[in-house]
């Protein structure tokens, strides 16, 4: 085991996969000489050359299209969104071509492509740099969406995403890059379509992902003090959702809280809530509760920004209210 920072785990994943398969290459803004906005690709260009760690002009829609064309013809590109929000400028290429082209072409082409980078609400970065793209992209057929949350799962998931033959949107979080964890020195991969059972419990199922996993973990001690033991599930795969894991937990606890960083309207929690209603209605002892970001552009002001995103005390009070009748 070696203590590894989150961004180092991501770099190791890319490095190992580039060494393993010469068709794998990275492209994006400042991924080469500069080493990436969060240093995930630092010095990789020295090892692999400038074509394999390709600094692109600031032209998101077109370099994404270029990566799609390269993937269609046999390469395995990894796009780094300098900030994932910038990829709204590539929405057309991601949706129409990465997502739908395999289907539209009747299976003529496959698109092994990873689109990864920092997203989520950081520290007073302003609205445009605080995007959570998962809600926008969850309706696109053909895309897989994965959100990593620890150095351990970041590495194993990214390696699996690079080996996957589909386009994978791979979400990292700006505030997690310096998280530390002991991770195995030997190679490992993690499945892209499996949720992670973070903590077993029986009183309520908390479904979360990305940075909100850590807010949930911060809420746990107080909940435990109050005698409430939630089952915490990190969704990992935002599309497709791991309904086996979600269902098993709901059948056990009969209560669900979704804690997410995307906005409430049309978010991941909205999809989960509808899915639980359709599949597990009779299992529920209470309506599904969604704790989401407020439906506003993320404000710059620190106080307002904190109010926008779900905080641990809010998780505690919501869970207590929901489970209260049961305890």
């Amino acid at each position: 085991m070696a203590e590894t920072l989150f961004f180092e785990a991501l770099r190791a994943a890319i490095d190992e996969e580039m060494a393993r398969d010469p068709r794998v290459f990275v492209l994006g803004e400042d991924v080469g000489h500069y080493g990436g906005s969060y240093k995930v690709t630092k010095n990789l260009y020295k090892k692999y050359g400038e074509l394999r760690v390709l600094d692109t002009p600031i032209a998101e829609n077109s370099f994404t299209g270029l990566a799609i064309g390269a993937a269609m013809t046999g390469l395995r590109p990894i796009i780094e969104g300098m900030n994932m929000g910038f990829l709204l400028l590539a929405f057309n290429q991601i949706a129409n071509n990465a997502g739908m082209l395999r289907y539209t072409s009747g299976g003529n082409f496959q698109i092994p492509l990873v689109i990864r980078g920092p997203g989520g609400v950081g520290r007073q970065l302003g609205a445009e740099h605080s995007q959570r793209l998962e809600a926008y992209f969850q309706a696109v057929p053909g895309l897989k969406m994965v959100a990593c949350s620890t150095p351990y799962n970041a590495k194993g998931l990214l390696k699996a995403a690079i080996r996957d033959n589909n386009p994978v949107l791979f979400f990292e979080h700006v505030l997690l890059y310096n998280l530390k964890q002991d991770i195995p020195e030997s190679e490992y991969l993690l499945p892209l379509d499996k949720a992670e059972l973070v903590q077993t419990g029986q009183d309520v199922t908390i479904l979360t992902y990305s940075r909100m996993r850590h807010h949930v973990l911060q809420a746990l001690p107080e909940l435990h003090q109050r005698g409430i033991v939630p089952e915490v599930i990190d969704l990992i795969s935002l599309r497709p959702l791991d309904w086996d894991t979600i269902s098993a937990s709901v059948r056990k606890t009969h209560r669900v809280v979704v804690v997410e960083e995307c906005m409430k309207t049309g978010g991941i929690g909205a999809e989960i809530s509808a899915g639980i209603m359709e599949r597990l209605f009779d299992e529920l002892d209470a309506p599904v509760v969604r704790l989401s970001s407020v439906d506003v552009p993320t404000p710059y002001n620190g106080t307002l920004e904190r109010l926008t995103v779900v905080q641990p005390p809010q998780i505690v009070s919501t869970v207590v209210d929901l489970v209260g009748g049961k305890i």
Binding site: R52, T56, P57, S62, G65, L66, T73, N92, S105, N166
Partner: protein, 344 residues
């Protein structure tokens, strides 16, 4: 009288064509024209649906570039929503294209794509792209792949050139400029072929762009830009050959502006009310198929019987394509979800 932009003068002696090549180009253009006329007929008979954009009048561009300068099936071709004839020139069988338009499972996109989404990996057709300009960066990606295979993977056989077709309307879109920049910056083996047919649906080219000379837009990327008479297949073939040679030699991309015209409306749903009768007549008088036919006869490269035989043969091919499409099965409803992911 319509003031038309003067086309550059081309002397066929500059790039002589053999009888065999001349007849092959002629046949390819006749196939494109006959196929499209049949599409109109089938559309009005309710055999195909959606937006169907025909290529009549522009045949010299597809044939001159793909048949005249590329190696179909080896080099990559990227098209737009007006893609039937690019697909045919790239070697996709007429049967597969017609069956796709009929929505049949035997179509080149298994009935999932339709008129604007023709694909064939086997023929290196990267696709019909239905949104204007979105195919341009994808084509550059295929070209990047060729460069990557050669320079990173050490594959000395990697010498494909990608031909990327699009219209005048696309040349005001960011993806056009962004991709030209990257292609020139990295010297990608690609040729950008603008089919300037003067109209983006109802938007006249000169109403949409500050400088109507599209080929000049290459200069700001230190790229070679050339204009060519898009109604003269031999002229198109000549400039395309130079561009392909440049690309293959690692000297980077070329922007070719082919001055051409569509003889029909934007799509079969377009009432075509804005283009003047004079303008249409002017361009109809420059029909690229008649022009090549006359040239081949003048030069004693072909006889009337040769051309007639081609017309007959192509007619059979298109009739056969229709019969094949008619008789082909629909996609299996149980396979509605197939092809969403790579494993399907």
């Amino acid at each position: 009288m319509v003031q038309e932009r003067p086309v550059p003068v081309f002397s066929p002696t500059a790039a002589p064509v053999s009888r065999e090549e001349g007849l092959a180009l002629y046949e390819d253009m006749v196939l494109g024209r006959t196929f499209e006329d049949k599409c109109a007929e089938m559309y009005y008979r309710g055999k195909m649906f959606g937006f169907v954009h025909l290529y009549n009048g522009q045949e010299a561009v597809a044939s001159g570039v793909i048949r005249g300068a590329l190696r179909p099936g080896v080099d990559y071709v990227c098209s737009t929503y007006r893609d039937h004839v690019h697909a045919l020139s790239a070697g996709v069988p007429a049967r597969e294209v017609m069956a796709e338009l009929f929505g049949k499972v035997t179509g080149c996109s298994k009935g999932r794509g339709g008129s604007m989404h023709l694909f064939s990996a086997a023929h290196r057709l990267l696709g019909g792209y239905a949104f204007v300009a979105e195919g341009i960066p994808v084509a550059a990606g295929a070209a990047f792949q060729t460069k990557y295979r050669r320079e990173v993977l050490g594959d000395q056989t990697a010498d494909e050139v990608t031909a990327c077709f699009f219209g005048d309307g696309a040349c005001n879109n960011g993806q056009f400029f962004e991709t030209l920049n990257m292609a020139a910056l990295w010297k990608l083996p690609i040729i950008f072929v603008v089919e300037n047919n003067k109209w983006a649906i109802g938007m006249a080219h000169e109403r949409a762009t500050a400088d109507p000379h599209i080929y000049k837009k290459a200069s700001v990327f230190n790229m070679v830009g050339v204009e060519v008479d898009g109604m003269d297949v031999l002229a198109v073939r000549a400039v395309a050959r130079e561009a392909v040679a440049r690309a293959r030699a690692g000297e980077g991309p070329t922007l070719i502006e082919a001055l051409t015209y569509r003889f029909r409306g934007h799509s079969l749903a377009d009432p075509d009310e804005l283009r003047s009768k004079e303008e249409k007549e002017f361009w109809l008088s420059r029909d690229p198929i008649k022009r090549l036919g006359s040239y081949l006869l003048e030069q004693d490269l072909a006889t009337h019987q040769d051309l007639k035989a081609i017309d007959q043969r192509v007619k059979q091919v298109v009739e056969d394509a229709v019969a094949f499409a008619e008789q082909s099965p629909e996609p299996d409803p149980s396979e509605l979800r197939r092809y969403v992911f790579a494993e399907d």
